[in-house]
């Protein structure tokens, strides 16, 4: 399949799946269980709204979701209390598989969710979305329900309500455009078909999630895309337009840290796959500047992009899910 054909066939809009009754019927016919994972760290302002919306619309009204779980990295605000109040299952990341220790990063929570949650499909949704709507879940789950060949569904956004010209620039955020897309263009050109490869919302079948490693930090999305592409091909990937997403905007310096983590994860993956030659030992320190009056001072950030192994390699996981 050419990239253009892939874009045409595997890019969808959430409005195609508005009929939730039909979607739930199809899900039940396939006897699928679907879990929603909300990874959190101090999200008290937005988490309540997300849980209320998903529980009401996609559990009580249309039983699309079988569980809603918050996997929290140790919030110091009321995130866990609010989440429990509104009916989510709340887990502290450090309490899941404690024998494997606690690592810091969103990827860690996503990995532990594969063990803790029970669904055949896991939907990951970031907890900082201001304009939350049920489409953030059903839009991502629907392609997995309707198309058995699809294993991994990624969200993208950015659909202005009004645009004066026929063609509008469209794509991902800043890190996507200045880092991930150039890297994909150089080494994995087919993955450039994804409009927003770094978006934090995606739905994935368990058999995929349990068999790929999880970088614990910023590189998790990039790494996953490469792994899914390598193991299952582009036909297993789909993307869904969820219209607009309103969230907190990050400082450019924070994006630098993100880019550093992604780059490390990318290089390791590319090396492992033999796409590039053997790498020298990569530094874990990102250096940035800050200015005091006329003085420039260098600040060092240590960003370790460790990786968790495929969950299926853990005996605890194999036992819990009856895998021999």
């Amino acid at each position: 399949m050419s990239l253009n054909d892939w874009i045409k066939n595997n890019t969808m809009h959430h409005s195609q799946f508005w009929d939730l009754k039909k979607l739930v019927e199809e899900k039940e016919k396939q006897n699928l269980k679907i879990s929603l994972c909300l990874p959190t760290l101090n999200e008290e302002k937005t988490i309540g709204k997300e849980i209320v919306m998903f529980k009401s619309e996609l559990m009580d009204r249309y039983p699309l979701l079988d569980e809603i779980a918050v996997i929290d990295s140790g919030s110091t605000d009321a995130t866990r209390e609010i989440s429990a109040n509104f009916g989510a299952d709340v887990h502290l990341s450090s309490d899941i598989l404690p024998q494997y220790g606690e690592k810091k990063g969103k990827g860690e929570n996503l990995w532990k969710a594969v063990y803790e949650l029970n669904g055949d499909v896991i939907v990951y949704v970031d907890a900082d979305i201001k304009n939350i709507h049920p489409r953030f879940v059903y839009g991502l789950v629907a392609p997995l329900i309707y198309r058995p060949e699809v294993h991994y569904v990624k969200a993208f956004y950015d659909r202005p309500l009004a645009f004066s010209q026929g063609v509008r620039p469209s794509g991902g955020g800043r890190v996507t455009e200045i880092l991930t897309r150039p890297l994909f263009s150089l080494f994995f050109p087919e993955l450039t078909g994804l409009v927003q490869p770094l978006s934090g919302e995606y739905a994935v079948r368990r058999e995929v999630l349990e068999s790929i490693p999880f970088p614990i930090g910023y590189g998790v999305e990039t790494s996953h895309l490469i792994d899914v592409y390598e193991k299952w091909g582009m036909e297993a990937i789909a993307q869904v337009d969820l219209d607009q997403r309103v969230h907190r905007n990050q400082e450019t310096r924070d994006l630098g840290k993100m880019a550093f983590g992604i780059l490390r994860a990318f290089l390791f993956r590319a090396e492992e796959l033999g796409v590039i030659g053997e790498l020298p030992e990569l530094s874990t320190v990102l250096k940035q500047f800050q200015a005091h009056d006329e003085e420039f001072e260098q600040v060092s950030h240590t960003i370790v992009e460790e990786e968790r192994p495929p969950m299926i390699e853990l005996p605890e996981y194999r036992e819990k899910f009856g895998i021999k």
Partner: protein
Amino acid sequence: METKIGSIDEILELLPTLPDKLTGIQETLLANLIMLSEIPSPTFEEEARVKLLLQRMLESELDKISTDEAGNGVGIIPGKDPSRNILLVAHADSVYSEKVDHAISVLAEEIVGPGVADNSLGMAVLATLPNILKMLGIQLNANLVLLSSTKGLGRGNLDGLRFFMDNNKIPFEAGICIEGEKLGRLSYTAEGMFRGYITCRIPEELDWQRAGQNSAIIALNEVINRILEIPIPKRPRTSIVLGAIRGGKSYNVMATHSSLRFEVRSQDAGMVQTIRERIEDIIADASSPNNAEFDFQIVSSREPGGIDISHPLVKNCRLVMEKLGVQPTIRPSMSEVSELIARGLPAVTLGITEASNLHDLNETIRIKPIYTGLAQLLAMLLAIDGGFCNEPE
């Protein structure tokens, strides 16, 4: 829940456990509240919010779901006796422009965002009531007509509700108007009222000789001073509220335009009319000496009236509140209930929860008291349905 109820006492007995039972509807109610709140709905532009309500009614399989020429949204929860009808009203419009960020925050104990109290919560109660009745296994004898009325606030002048009442053919036994704020609110009377809008224009000529005199602000100020000289009696209770004043463009440009929004209210219709005539005289008199052109419009008005405090509908409201530990705050109303009682329909306005920062962008409601507010509403619906709120023949 057994819905065959023989007396108001039986309803009161049900009350203490009802708020706890109603917490089971929390997510549905709050999701409705969020979705309705986040659709801007300034007066005259309520269409999208009403459309969502109708969609919810459709999902709940209500009868006769429709909008009318005024844009009101209506649906009916059918009762066992099709000849009887109770009206439940919540206004759909809000005071916020569509340019305001309508995003809502759901915190542990509160919900914050523009219009959550006035009146997204009222509308969310309408949207959720079919689920509530289903959850509790209640089927009323009377049909329950759920109306979300448009064009209520400010210049809207209750036009939506007026249109509905002028044109619908259903005879109602009683009406309840629902407002998000505040729990304990009990309105069953209306004061006479009119809202006035005075504009002042002066010719657009720069006249340095008359600087300081030739200004629409000064001309309007003279009118305001004369309005304030109108004698206001304490009995019947009467008041003039100067609500908003606008005028001019900048520091150094003579104001050629100014405006005043104000409200006159009184327990006596004659007094309202007298003040109105006095203001018309003041306007006529003020034009020539100031070389100004005044325009005076009545943008909204209400007749005074109401039902008596001893009316069984009001008495039962107070009993229900007392049983729930809620202190009634009795106050006359200018909102939907005034229109219903002006038409001879026994009606009250009830509030659902505690609120703060009303009409600010951080309007806030408390979640926990909502269940008491809902229990109160259900009790009153059961009381009306049981015939316990009718006046003795």
